[in-house]
């Protein structure tokens, strides 16, 4: 949530972070949070926060949450099936470094470029993504623009699309139209028949924005699709009308909070295998730097 971004809550003794699990232990879903704990509340991971919310509020009567697009839901369910078992246990997948994946659908897109859509060959859209849900402890691993094809559109098996991506600095203070801060062009080829989703990796492109805690990402995407496949040096000919649903933004993140599951967490490993007593015969340099002398002393001490 907005106020959980970057707000680090310190205990009276400086340098101590109010560990989220402290509040989680005090937090009983049926009790309202005591005032003092409310600050720490902001740090609770979403699941615990929402569990505590539900405890004392009748969630059913609450205003219904914004419902996500069905396509986005379908994609995330497929990602869930690939990442976890039926019981919900994360699969031990080496390549799977993330422990959090967030899918954002654009909260607003400029309608002013409809004519391009009608022309059919250039698909251009302005998108605004609000990233308030990304917490300060979630570090970006990869970001992807996710296009899904309208399967009802009969498209030949092989098309080549060129995509121009512009990120815009949205100057909220003035109503001046957002200026383009930087842009990048992609050319990608894919077989539409085999897939409904096209993922465009924009990690290097969005990294600087997300790393600076940008809450709103405003971008424009121009898509031009032509028939044919440059690799098969078939001639790219007349543009085709590819009906594209506005893309979603997918963020693969590593949540570094205590409550998140860390596959490679050495801490956990140490907890399971408590530290073995230090080896006596490991050579430790004497603070005075004289190894021989300290070695001799230690051997006699050991004999004693």
């Amino acid at each position: 949530s907005p106020y959980s971004r970057g707000r680090v809550v310190f205990d009276k003794s400086p340098g101590l972070l109010v560990a989220p699990e402290d509040t989680a232990i005090e937090l009983s879903p049926l009790l309202r949070l005591p005032k003092g704990v409310r600050r720490g509340y902001a740090l609770l991971p979403p699941l615990l926060k929402v569990l505590s919310d539900r405890g004392h509020r009748n969630w059913e009567s609450e205003a219904p949450r914004l419902q996500p697009h069905s396509r986005a839901l379908r994609y995330m369910k497929r990602l869930y099936k690939m990442s976890a078992t039926k019981e919900g246990i994360p699969k031990a997948n080496k390549s799977h470094l993330y422990n959090t994946v967030r899918l954002f659908t654009p909260c607003s897109e400029c309608k002013r470029r409809h004519k391009d859509l009608m022309k059919g060959d250039v698909h251009s859209v302005d998108l605004l993504f609000n990233l308030d849900r990304v917490t300060a402890l979630e570090h970006l691993l990869k970001s992807v623009l996710l296009y899904s094809f309208d399967t009802s559109v009969p498209v030949s098996s092989s098309i080549t699309c060129t995509c121009h991506l512009f990120v815009k600095e949205r100057d909220f203070s003035s109503q001046v139209c957002p200026s383009v801060s930087h842009s990048v062009a992609f050319s990608l080829h894919f077989e539409v028949r085999k897939r409904k989703w096209v993922e465009i990796d924009v990690t290097s492109f969005l990294q600087p924005l997300i790393a600076t805690n940008r809450r709103n990402i405003h971008m424009a995407v121009n898509f031009t699709c032509l028939m044919g496949d440059p690799q098969q040096n078939t001639k790219l000919e007349n543009p085709i009308n590819v009906a594209l649903v506005p893309p979603s933004l997918l963020l693969y993140l590593n949540d570094t909070s205590e409550q998140a599951y860390h596959r490679w967490n050495s801490l956990r490993h140490r907890r399971k295998n408590p530290v073995r007593p230090r080896q006596r015969n490991s050579l430790r340099v004497d603070p005075t730097g004289d190894k021989e002398n300290s070695w001799g002393k230690r051997a006699s001490r050991r004999r004693r």
Binding site: P45, P46, L47, V50, R54, W59, E60, P64, R65, L66, Q67, P68, A72, L73, M76, K77, L79, Y80, S83, A84, K86, E87, G88, I89, P90, N99, T100, V101, R102, L103, F104, T105, N130, D132, R133, D255, E258, Q259, A260, Y261, H262, K272
Partner: protein, 130 residues
């Protein structure tokens, strides 16, 4: 030995029953199954997956001398002696989870975005006396 001297000569086929009472006391501390579905809690509107969740739990008595079987530290035995011999207001050791496994959850956030998250320590997998 004392117990054997007192005990009447039992025919061999009861011997295993006889020893069982020492080796496996009734309702000893152990892991119990518990499955819930998020629809029971009416949370299935925002928790999309998994549909069912088995957090499990630990329940049962802690035997007086909890040795390696529970991986309990020596302190547990000390606490039990304090309870029995010195001060019964000190609680007996409790049967609690010792190890957990994580859970992956797919939820819809209030702003309509969708998040896949892996949470630590969501399913108890082993019990201990502490």
């Amino acid at each position: 030995d004392e117990n054997l001297k007192e005990a009447p000569a039992t025919p061999p086929h009861n011997l295993s029953e006889y020893f069982k009472q020492f080796l496996f006391p009734q309702n000893e501390c152990e892991l119990h199954n518990f499955r819930l579905s998020f629809s029971q809690l009416k949370w299935d509107r925002w928790i999309i997956a998994p549909h069912r969740y088995s957090p499990q739990y630990c329940k049962g008595d802690c035997p007086r001398v909890v040795g390696h079987r529970y991986g309990s530290p020596v302190h547990t035995m000390v606490q039990n002696i304090i309870y029995e011999k010195l001060d019964s207001s000190v609680p007996k050791p409790s049967c609690v989870p010792a190890e957990y496994s994580p859970l992956s959850v797919l939820t819809i956030e209030p702003d309509g975005s969708i998040v896949y998250k892996e949470y630590e320590d969501m399913i108890a997998t082993k019990c201990t006396c502490r």
